[in-house]
């Protein structure tokens, strides 16, 4: 038996691990294979889209899991039921997510062309703080002190780790902080929203969400890249697209990206956006040993690392901040059972009302001594009090509330 909490942190952490893999591959590819960023992104997105479709088709192959017929993709996301075309509200959000992602990608390339990209990476980390604010607005709830502390610790830690001695100009700061972080925040919010809405009673699965958002991202990015594609670049794309070496490189590269996004989207469905993002920041820490590995494997591509001692101290301090923050987030969680008795007159519709209260993980109408069993999952015990006193007591008909904080729990996934 493992806990659900474990699943959430597992998804977010491994999403971060896969990010560090494809970031390293990107660094290699941009230096050794396709030095032109425009050509690189064009190839990366299109080959990525093709391979993503291939992955999805393979994952759609039906197999028998626990006696039921299910596609292989069930292992990656239990909601996956094969490739499906998004409709209605889902389509709007996926389209939106694809568009903002393409804006952020193109902005990145434009910014890289006139400024020092080494300063953009640390500033990108601040989107977690934007997400913290959006979580705060969405959940109509003041984040607990431990949440704010941990998320700030991770964000500032990640800022320190990625810091390097680059030139910094006000344009880069504005572009990174406003456009790129803004786009990323909107993308994450849309993905979170997509996890909550369902079409015809069917929930959106992360595999389809990844594919269709990539589909719209690729389309809109290609349109925006068109003015930059001159004759030499087009020739380069034509030549490289059908090169097997390049194709294999991007298949692996986008395979990591695929896994990372699927896990990221699934984690978003299970917890707060700011926390998922903070945990994914582990890739910053992993980036350091991976870069060393890169230097070892391809010394002619990666410049040998020669930071001075001062910068190393800053990086180590940043790493400690990131790890401590993630640990603090994962340890501080309180669950409780609340048992309710209601007077028979008011027994209607209470189930729905209770379920809508923030922090309620499940509510069951039961037959026995009590009438309802509510399960809460919150950050601090003080919040339990808030939920019980402010929300549950407001509901008419409840005559007895019994709260049982959980000390330790085991669950089967």
């Amino acid at each position: 038996m493992v806990s659900k909490k474990f699943e959430f942190y597992f998804l977010a952490l491994f999403s971060g691990v896969f990010v560090s893999f494809y970031v390293l591959m990107d660094a290699y590819g941009l230096k050794a294979l396709v030095p032109d960023p425009y050509v690189y992104s064009f190839l990366c997105e299109w080959i990525g889209l093709v391979t993503c479709l291939l992955y999805l088709l393979v994952l759609s192959i039906p197999t028998t899991i626990k006696g039921k017929k299910r596609p292989i993709g069930y292992y990656l996301d239990p909601y996956f039921q094969g490739l499906k075309i998004p409709r209605g509200k889902s389509l709007q959000y996926i389209l939106g997510a694809g568009l903002v992602a393409s804006v952020s990608t193109i902005t990145y390339f434009i910014a890289v062309s006139f400024s020092d990209p080494s300063m953009m990476l640390p500033l990108m980390r601040f989107s977690t703080i934007y997400l913290l604010i959006i979580d705060f607005i969405r959940e109509k709830d003041v984040p607990s002190a431990i949440e704010i502390e941990s998320i700030l610790s991770v964000t500032l830690g990640a800022f320190l780790v990625t810091l390097s001695k680059g030139k910094i100009d006000p344009y880069t700061i504005i572009i990174t902080l406003v456009i790129m972080n803004g786009c990323f925040t909107v993308y994450t919010t849309f993905m979170k929203k997509l996890q909550e809405i369902s079409e015809n009673g069917k929930k959106n699965d992360s595999l389809n969400l990844r594919f269709w958002s990539l589909f719209f991202l690729t389309l809109s990015l290609s349109i925006m890249l068109t003015p930059f594609l001159d004759k030499t670049r087009i020739e380069m794309i034509q030549k490289l697209f059908f090169s097997p070496m390049i194709f294999i490189f991007f298949t692996v590269n986008m395979g990591f990206a695929f896994l990372s996004y699927v896990m990221y989207i699934r984690a978003l469905g299970k917890g707060k956006m700011s926390i998922v993002n903070a945990v994914v920041s582990i890739n910053i820490v992993l980036g350091i040993p991976l870069t060393f590995l890169g230097v070892k494997l391809a010394p002619n591509v990666f410049e040998s690392i020669s930071y001075d001692a001062f910068l190393w101290i800053i990086k180590i301090v940043g790493t400690i901040f990131v790890i401590v923050g993630i640990l603090a987030l994962s340890i501080s969680e309180v669950k409780a059972y609340i048992l309710l008795r209601v007077s028979s007159k008011h027994a209607v519709d209470i189930l729905d009302k209770i379920y809508k209260i923030r922090g309620v993980e499940s509510v069951a109408a039961v037959a026995g001594d009590y009438d309802y069993v509510v399960k809460l999952r919150i950050r601090t015990l003080g919040k339990t009090y808030n939920i019980i006193v402010r929300e549950i007591e407001k509901i008419k008909g409840i005559i007895q509330i019994m709260s049982l904080p959980i000390i330790k729990e085991w669950e089967i996934l």
Binding site: Y337, Y355, V373, L404, I407, E409
Partner: protein
């Protein structure tokens, strides 16, 4: 036919909690075991195919665990749950 889920609230004798917990975790129908503070000590969630199976599990197994003082079974009639 669908599965029947139920919560079983258990009062445990002092000093026997570790043993009760280990025994409960061996049961195949047990989906989660939570140690709580309050009027009960352990809340177990079970999932069975029929009421007969629930009866078997409570009377023939859980009641016989050394240290289980009293149980209260609550069968779930309807439930709203966050998936994940």
């Amino acid at each position: 036919m669908g599965k029947i889920d139920a919560y079983i609230f258990i009062e445990v004798e002092i000093g026997k909690s570790e043993h009760v917990l280990n025994e409960l975790r061996k049961l195949a129908i047990v989906k989660s075991v939570a140690f709580v503070t309050g009027i009960f000590d352990v809340i177990v969630r079970v999932s069975v195919n029929n009421l007969e199976e629930l009866y078997e599990a409570t009377v023939k197994y859980i009641h016989k665990i050394d240290g289980v003082k009293r149980t209260r079974t609550h069968i779930i009639e309807k439930e709203l749950k966050q998936e994940g």
